[in-house]
């Protein structure tokens, strides 16, 4: 019987290794798998390359992972957020590398990686500093830059409801990067507020089919980054 459920967030991230590339879902706090990130902090893996649109806020979730100096490389589109002080400090001290990627190129690189496409051409960033040094090619009179697909050893995402096969539905704009990161992660781990029995999710409404998901862990009342930050909480 296929059963991708694991009993704790600690078990879910137990095999993340030093130097791993980890995609982390979320756009700001929406879709951020905070409990999985905190479990990763407890687990101790370091020298990570993390892919996320942002760099977290306050000193919880992704920002806490960065503050704990577990992240050597950050691949993201927008590392500045109000309440984001952890990343700027390490960046200025040259303790973390940044690969800045336009948001759509980031999404497409993840989708391509998850779809077995090693690279693609896009007009985004042509003639800008983010297009410099990249292979250029002319198609029908317009210039495009070559961008490479992205894959990851692990993807940590947050769903609303999942089942034991790893099928997932999301909540509103919390979906953001999760479906494509699920495709691009060799081991995709999803927390979900509810894990239901097989058959309870309508196959017509499933957003991420279970083939892209290796582990599911129920986290009933996931914390919200903004609530934790407003309360002045830090992790650990």
């Amino acid at each position: 019987m296929i059963d991708k459920r694991v009993s704790s967030v600690a078990e879910a991230v137990a095999d993340v290794f030093d130097g791993a590339t980890v995609m982390i879902g979320g756009f700001g706090e929406a879709g951020s798998p905070i409990e999985l990130i905190h479990a990763l902090i407890d687990q101790g893996a370091t020298n990570l390359t993390v892919v996320n649109n942002n760099t977290g806020s306050g000193e919880v979730g992704l920002a806490a992972l960065i503050k704990a100096k577990r992240v050597a490389n950050m691949i993201c589109s927008y590392p500045r957020t109000s309440n984001s002080t952890v990343f700027p400090e390490l960046y200025h001290n040259k303790e973390i590398n940044l690969e800045l990627v336009p948001q759509g190129t980031l999404a497409e690189r993840i989708r391509a990686g998850g779809s077995g496409i090693p690279a693609f051409y896009t007009p985004t960033a042509v003639g800008t500093p983010l297009g410099e040094g990249k292979e250029l090619r002319l198609f029908k009179g317009r210039n495009y830059v070559l961008e490479h697909g992205l894959t990851a050893d692990f993807a940590l995402i947050k769903g609303q409801t999942a089942d034991q096969h790893g099928n997932i539905v999301y909540n509103k704009t919390a979906r953001n990067f999760a479906p494509i990161m699920a495709m691009a992660g060799k081991v995709t781990i999803s927390q979900a507020a509810q894990v239901v029995d097989l058959g309870e999710l309508d196959p017509e409404t499933i957003i991420t089919p279970g083939i892209f998901v290796q582990r599911v862990v129920e986290v009933r009342n996931p914390a919200l980054e903004s609530t934790l930050v407003a309360a002045g909480e830090t992790y650990p």
Binding site: F27, A30, G31, P102, E108, R175, I180
Partner: protein, 214 residues
């Protein structure tokens, strides 16, 4: 002479958006456009984090932390709205499905080059978000901005000195002083704000401004 307020600038721009347009609004003055949809027209707002049919901010206490816009503020979803993941969202942008994007600017050059993501200051943390994708893919790019910086420097220039967001991408510029179209011949004045003389605008523009066509 009456320079337009931010609201009046947004109101003027809204008049040039056609009924049924799919529109992405940048953060700041562009967000004011939603207040001035002309009677009888409907615009559908796209937010790149994954929502078409974005509505206004929710009433106090009725929002959802996971229903936000690209500026990470809580919004609502109107009847007929749709959620989607990031790659689909940027396919809407990069695949040329959106009709219009309204953005702010640091500088716009007379050839349509736009700089709006970085002042290039050493030590600043670079952050680009979806700006480069939007200008590369959306059918029309309108810039909504003050004509000059807070220090009185022209934002409309011969060539951008800040790092570019995109090359030759801007179609129209709506400022407190004028409406200007970017043409193959450079900046073409379309309209002046009430009582603003042509020379006043030209003096505050860093490139030749072609007079309004008779």
């Amino acid at each position: 002479m009456k320079c337009k307020t931010r609201d009046e600038m947004a109101q003027r721009l809204a008049q040039d958006i056609s009924d049924g347009a799919y529109v992405n609004l940048g953060i700041g003055i562009p967000e004011l456009v939603t207040k001035y949809v002309p009677n009888g027209r409907e615009f559908i707002y796209h937010t790149e984090n994954g929502l078409l049919g974005m509505g206004p901010s929710p009433e106090e206490g009725k929002g959802d932390h996971e229903l936000i816009n690209a500026g990470k503020r809580q919004v609502t979803a109107l009847p007929g709205a749709a959620y989607f993941h990031h790659a689909d969202s940027f396919s809407m942008i990069r695949g040329g499905h959106l009709d219009l994007c309204v953005l702010g600017a640091l500088q716009v050059a007379s050839n349509g080059d736009l700089a709006n993501w970085s002042t290039g200051v050493a030590n600043a943390i670079p952050a680009v978000g979806g700006a480069m994708d939007l200008v590369a893919g959306v059918k029309s790019i309108y810039v909504l901005t003050q004509h000059c910086t807070k220090n009185g420097e022209p934002k409309l220039v011969d060539a951008c000195t800040y790092p570019l967001t995109g090359c030759g991408v801007v179609n129209r510029i709506y400022t407190d002083l004028a409406v200007i179209e970017v043409t193959l011949k450079g900046f073409q004045l379309v309209e002046l704000s009430d009582g603003v003389p042509y020379q006043y605008v030209q003096d505050r523009t860093g490139a030749p401004l072609l007079p309004i066509k008779e």
